[in-house]
């Protein structure tokens, strides 16, 4: 898990990237050009979450590698490294396929932040796509129907709004796990949402009013003090 493939021909930059990603907790595989990158990808049976590719490389340029990788795995996260803004303009039309790009020179913080952000997106997307296979998720007396967007408690239908439904989806995908507000916020409202984190609390309250036997002493949506909430299953 957290596997990254880095393709960059300049040794200095590659080392820089590899070091900083490793320090951030990623498991990095490095390649000195596009052809090698593709080879290493196949050798590892595509067991990567993210690829960081330089655009300008000998043997095979980053855009080609990007296209090839996308063919193999549509869900792979891809970040391109571009030298100048000009270069970016030239190829921007070809940038589709990449999820994000970072222009050189970049700071360690910037790189890691982008990769982290992409990783979160990927992880959430993966969770969502897993739920696509399921029709419904059961948990105790509750049944969340993903297809009909409905929630039943002991067979009794509970109407949920869009936001409420998504929170429940997140809960049901991680039963018993303590989820912090920031994670809930990102799952439901998305990465770039601007606004109060308190919105989570307010919606939790609304959910409790609908879901709990006694909203004043929650049994299902339990608060984890100083952290967030969890869907309790006991």
């Amino acid at each position: 898990m957290k596997n990254i493939l880095v393709a960059e021909d300049e040794t200095a930059i590659r080392d820089f990237v590899v070091i900083n990603l490793e320090r951030a907790g990623y498991n990095v595989t490095e390649a000195e050009n596009g052809a090698v990158a593709l080879k290493k990808y196949d050798e590892a049976n595509g067991d990567f979450d993210i690829a960081v590719l330089d655009i300008m490389m000998p043997e095979m340029d980053g855009l080609t590698v990007c296209k090839e990788l996308r063919k193999r795995n549509g869900g792979l996260g891809i970040i391109m490294l571009t030298a100048k803004t000009q270069e970016m303009d030239k190829v921007s039309g070809l940038m589709h396929g990449a999820d994000d790009y970072v222009t050189k020179p970049f700071s360690p913080m910037e790189l890691v932040a982008r990769v982290d952000a992409l990783y979160r997106r990927i992880a959430i997307a993966e969770m969502r796509s897993e739920n696509n296979f399921k029709e419904e998720i059961k948990s105790g007396d509750f049944t969340l129907n993903l297809k009909h967007h409905s929630l039943k408690k002991n067979g009794k239908l509970i109407e949920l709004t869009q936001v409420e439904f998504q929170i429940m989806e997140y809960f049901f995908s991680n039963p018993g796990t303590a989820l912090d507000r920031s994670a809930i916020l990102k799952y439901v409202w998305g990465e770039q949402y601007v606004g109060e984190e308190k919105i989570v609390d307010v919606n939790i309250r609304r959910l409790r009013m609908k879901v709990e036997d006694n909203p004043s002493s929650p049994k299902y949506i339990v608060t984890v003090w100083g952290l967030g909430y969890k869907w309790d299953t006991n």
Copy 2:
């Protein structure tokens, strides 16, 4: 454990550094230049926690060594020694990779303090990252569930606050080990916390109330007189 690699070409300074680190309880390996440092690192199979590197050295300069070491072990602690502030400015852009730096001339106290601080950071970071892989830690009748943020004693749930939970995490990561207040303080409250060390005692008490069969004669959280506490497993 507590192994340090010191690379410095000037004999006088090297001796100074080595003597003081050894007095502080570290196990020091010394090298007279960067190339030797790297060789000794590999010979010891990378069994070091921290490397102290002079920037200006013959054969191979400190920054290069730093980069090489980082490639081998992303979690290694690295402290750079720089001659003047000016020199630091020049290379500050290349400082990535180092965790800290000390400018010459420096006092024994300063050096040891920096190394100690870094060592603690490294140790805590390592412990935390190990716990990331685990879902729960068992110890006797107790199960600390890191995912659910819960503690169970013989299957019975015990509610813990944030601070209490972290203390338990520290205990469970070091069962049977006598932990001094200062270490507990740093793990739970962080390096730069300002306040009474007694706060540890108070929270230990609250934990005992929740965890012990008879809080007046603790069986699990045992006090080690003149030192601190330990999680007893017998």
